[in-house]
Amino acid sequence: MKRWVLGMRDAFSEVLYNIAKKDKRVMLVTSDTGAICHDKFRESLPHQYLNVGIAEQNMVGVAAGLALAGKLAYVYALIPFATMRCYEQIRVDLCCMGLTVTVVGVGAGYDYSTLGPTHHGTEDITLMRALPGMSIFSPSDSIMVEAIARLSYKLPGPKYIRLDRTGTPLIYRGIKENFTKGAAVLKRGADLCIIATGRMVYNALKVSDELAKHSVKATVVDLYRIEPLNEELILNAINKFDFIVTMEEHFLRGGIGTLINELLVKNGKRCLVKNFGIPDKFCRQYDGKREYLQALMGLDVKSVSDTLIRMIKK
């Protein structure tokens, strides 16, 4: 039972360690990040562990070279540094060449709630989604993280995995899901459909509980693979709804709200849509609790529930 309380990054590291033990091609490349969670990896598998120092451009470039030599490289850093500081290298070295390198970013949304916008992961989905061939995973709990870590080992091409630093409440305990489909319907209700990703899946489930108190029944979809989007599954899930809601701890511009809106337009579906995400501003507020910052941006359970109830009652 203990393993279920592991945080996302610990869960990921544990699985990667077990894979790397059996496959010498697997290499973990970090930029001076992830000290404790990778301790076992770097002590037991020193020849498969590489700390390039605080040099993310080189981290990705070196990983590209390793991949060209047949290695299966995982680059690991906090989200802003794993995605933005080295965006050029991800774009040209990994995506243009279609190399099998997995970019692991830690600290989705406001996970690093006391560290400010330099350490917030609020643009990564938009940026990674702009790159042809990049697969994007946004797991919602540690059980899924373990599965995605294993899937990433088998999947060729460039990949991005967006992790929370610490544990999120478990969503998939007791649920049979192999995480290959890209999205999972966690709850079924007839009045509206909430599509959420990452940490916001938990909030979406709580929102659905709140709505139920007002006799509003919500379907909740966990969109855990953002690219390539399983359009068929999503369209099937939202088909009968007149009201679709998206939730993400990420800027509204270019995130999963944008993605779903594009899907609706492309398929000529007319319905009411509400996108919850971070509005167009940097969060220069600080608190030990991530939920405090979420609330400031209207992403907490109460704000979302109140907004939805207001919209429904109109």
Binding site: Q57, G61, V62, A64, G65, A69, E88, Q89, D93, M97
Partner: protein
């Protein structure tokens, strides 16, 4: 030993080859209507030395041969010259060179790794040395004896990522890694020392833990001996070869003139460029 090496290298043949490459590059560029001619002419002799001077290990019939040396053209804008060299070696048909950057061609304006013999997709300056370092590191981990070489522009050394890679290479004692810097003193729009001076360039590489050799980048008798032992160097340090070159080398009006970074000769210029590129070396390779 030295005498034997000198005997092995047929300077005349190499000069003739380099001249063929320059002529081909000029034709390709004119046909395409756009090309980085001067950057290509700057490193033509280096490329010919690598592929015809007995430096690189490769197999045109099997471009992905596992034991091949890895050559990364980090200054990807010189791809036009690399394509000419590779086609001449039968990695792909010479006739394909006529399709350079034309509709449907795989020969892009920057090094396309879909072209047989091209190791990595480059053109975004500053990326190639990291890739090369990754390849060299993998060789070291896996105990492979291939050498990894990267050809950088000197202006490219203004990119911070070059120095990130330089630190990693020396820290990991990548003696199997060589960076050749095409040191022509010019970048896209100006003389480097006029805006962001790189000198002392050799001292910078030394300070980053590299062995440094300085050669005349147009003299085969200097380039080839400097590169001769890249696969079996005793030093644990990576090797930087600073090749002093002339941008636009071979066509006097292109030489050392910033305007020719991405210009194609037109009208009378074509005639005089071709005239200057007529092969006129004697048996000793002297012009």
């Amino acid at each position: 030993m030295k005498r034997r090496m000198r005997k092995e290298i047929n300077i005349y043949a190499l000069k003739k080859k380099a001249n063929w490459v320059r002529n081909k590059v000029l034709d390709m560029g004119i046909k395409a209507g756009a090309a980085h001619l001067a950057p290509a002419f700057s490193c033509t002799d280096i490329l010919v030395a690598l592929y015809h001077g007995g430096i690189l290990r490769f197999n045109p019939k099997n471009p992905k041969w596992k034991s091949r040396d890895r050559f990364i053209l980090s200054k990807g804008q010189a791809a036009i010259a690399l394509y000419a060299v590779l086609a001449d070696l039968k990695f792909f048909p010479v006739s394909e060179l006529n399709s350079f950057t034309r509709a449907g061609s795989r020969l892009g304006g920057h090094a396309e790794n879909t072209v047989p013999g091209v190791e990595a997709f480059t053109g975004s300056l500053g990326n190639g040395l990291s890739i090369a370092a990754g390849l060299a590191l993998a060789a070291k981990i896996d105990n492979k004896d291939y050498a990894t070489l990267a050809l950088l522009g000197d202006g490219e050394c203004q990119e911070g990522s070059i120095w990130e890679a330089a630190m990693l290479a020396s820290h990991h004692k990548l003696g199997n890694l060589t960076a050749i810097i095409d040191n022509n003193g010019l970048s896209a729009i100006d003389f480097i020392d006029k805006y962001i001076n790189l000198d002392p360039l050799a001292d910078k590489w030394r300070a980053f833990g590299w062995d440094v050799k300085i050669v005349d980048g147009h003299a085969f008798k200097e380039i080839i001996p400097a590169l001769k032992d890249v696969r079996s160097r005793k030093s644990g340090k990576p090797l930087a070869i600073i090749a002093k070159t002339v941008k636009g080398r071979g066509v006097s009006f292109m030489e050392n003139n910033p305007i020719w970074h991405y210009r194609i000769p037109v009208g009378k210029e074509i005639k005089s460029a071709k005239k200057e590129l007529l092969f006129k070396y004697n048996q000793e390779g002297q012009r």
